[in-house]
């Protein structure tokens, strides 16, 4: 590491050797990661190849999964014996505090019942309303105004840009359990550099919507089957300023919504089917990722996985092996979807 200020060097270009990682050093996080990983791997845990914070142990009679966020760890599995074992190992090496059944993790509230597991961010939502001073505002039924499309308009620039950014940032974190505000958050984040009053008003409307349903959250039913379904759609020309399209996709495992996204495409598309096609390609990548993750968790998808798309032409391009001149630039995406 570089020498801290205040220490005189005997020779120029000297550096320090790090013997022990200290809290606050640039190297601390990496050292911690390496130490935790080595302890878990000694205990026969296997690190998932796609998500390096996921550790899996499978033996003849038990299956245990360990999910790490810096120094917060979630443990899930089939054997209490293995739980005790790994907890004592972690306790001897790092001194852990056992918080019992999972209830609150990184601002996400978890509730268990016979029917299933629910995730919500009610407290985070309340704090957000409180801090922005909208705790007493009126309810509204949708997060965005259906008659208005956000773009770089000519209304007055909004004065407090950092406040707008903070607000959008907090809405982004709320997206973890709230797919209903995903689209409006995507729209609001387009104007982070110079928001106008109109954009700020749209953000406040979203807060009023949140007020009407604070505790809404994801629900994962216990009796759900393991079939993967994906939906892919696009709003061609969705961005009025740059004429780019907006990709949207969501994925269900049985009845549970597990992944969703609204994202502006990186390039402009000449036709709606081209835009749909690009969306299909990115949905395929996401499905592939989910499949690899399921494979790591030793879960096999029982049925054929299905990807739904509402554009006939995009489907024709996907199945037809002959490349047309106009679709030539999409060739890479084509191969991706077919594979």
């Amino acid at each position: 590491m570089t020498v801290p200020p205040g220490i005189k060097l005997a020779k120029p270009r000297q550096v320090c050797k790090l013997k022990k990682s200290l809290y606050g050093l640039k190297q601390a996080s990496r050292q911690w990661y390496e130490k935790l990983t080595s302890v878990l791997i000694q205990q026969n845990y296997i690190q998932a190849s796609l998500d390096h914070s996921l550790f899996i142990k499978k033996s003849s009679d038990s299956f245990t999964v360990l999910l790490v966020y810096v120094d917060d760890i979630i443990l899930a599995g089939t054997s209490l014996l293995e739980f005790q074992h790994i907890k004592s190992i972690l306790d001897t090496s790092f001194k852990i505090k056992d918080l019992g059944q999972l209830k609150y993790f990184l601002g996400i509230e978890v509730a268990h019942s016979k029917l299933g597991i629910s995730l919500c961010q009610r407290k985070y939502c309340l704090d957000l309303l409180h801090d922005s001073g909208h705790i007493g505002s009126k309810h509204i039924s949708t997060p965005s105004n259906p008659s208005m499309k956000l773009h770089y308009d000519s209304s007055k620039p909004y004065d407090d840009i950092p406040a707008y950014r903070r607000l959008v940032g907090r809405l982004l974190y709320l997206n973890n359990s709230r797919p209903d505000i995903t689209f409006i958050t995507q729209q609001l984040s387009q104007f982070l550099s110079n928001p106008t009053v109109a954009h700020h008003n749209a953000a406040l409307r979203t807060l009023r919507y949140l007020k009407s349903c604070l505790g809404k959250g994801l629900f994962f039913p216990r009796n759900s089957s393991i079939t993967l379904q994906g939906f892919s759609d696009v709003d061609w020309d969705g961005c009025l300023d740059r004429r780019k399209s907006v990709t949207s996709q969501c994925f269900f495992l049985g009845h549970s919504l597990i992944s969703w996204r609204a994202k502006k495409q990186t390039t402009v598309s000449g036709s709606s089917s081209e835009a749909e096609y690009k969306a299909l390609a990115s949905a395929t990548c996401e499905i592939q990722w989910i499949l690899y993750l399921l494979h790591d968790l030793h879960i096999t998808c029982s049925k054929l996985l299905v990807l739904y798309c509402d554009n006939q032409i995009a489907l024709h391009i996907a199945t037809n092996p002959v490349f047309h001149e106009r679709t030539k630039h999409l060739e890479i995406d084509c191969h991706l979807v077919r594979e």
Binding site: T142, F183, A262, Q312
Partner: protein
């Protein structure tokens, strides 16, 4: 993997591409399977009760019919 066509009305991913009207919004939202564990079911669960009572009264009338 299989690619299938879905009509635009049933396209759930539509939820993430448009500013929707309240009716379509709540329809698609219900398909996503979100729940609010803090909000009690509509009418405080009374609707359920009435249905059950209806069933039991039907049972009674059936019984009465058998007795006669």
């Amino acid at each position: 993997m299989k690619l299938l066509l879905v009509s635009s009305q049933d396209q759930i991913a539509d939820f993430f591409t448009k500013h929707l009207l309240p009716k379509t919004f709540s329809l698609l939202l219900s398909k996503l399977g979100l729940i609010d564990i803090y909000q009690p079911p509509p009418c405080g669960g009374l609707l359920h009760y009435i249905e059950e009572e209806d069933n039991s009264s039907k049972d009674k009338s059936l019984l009465a019919a058998q007795v006669t």
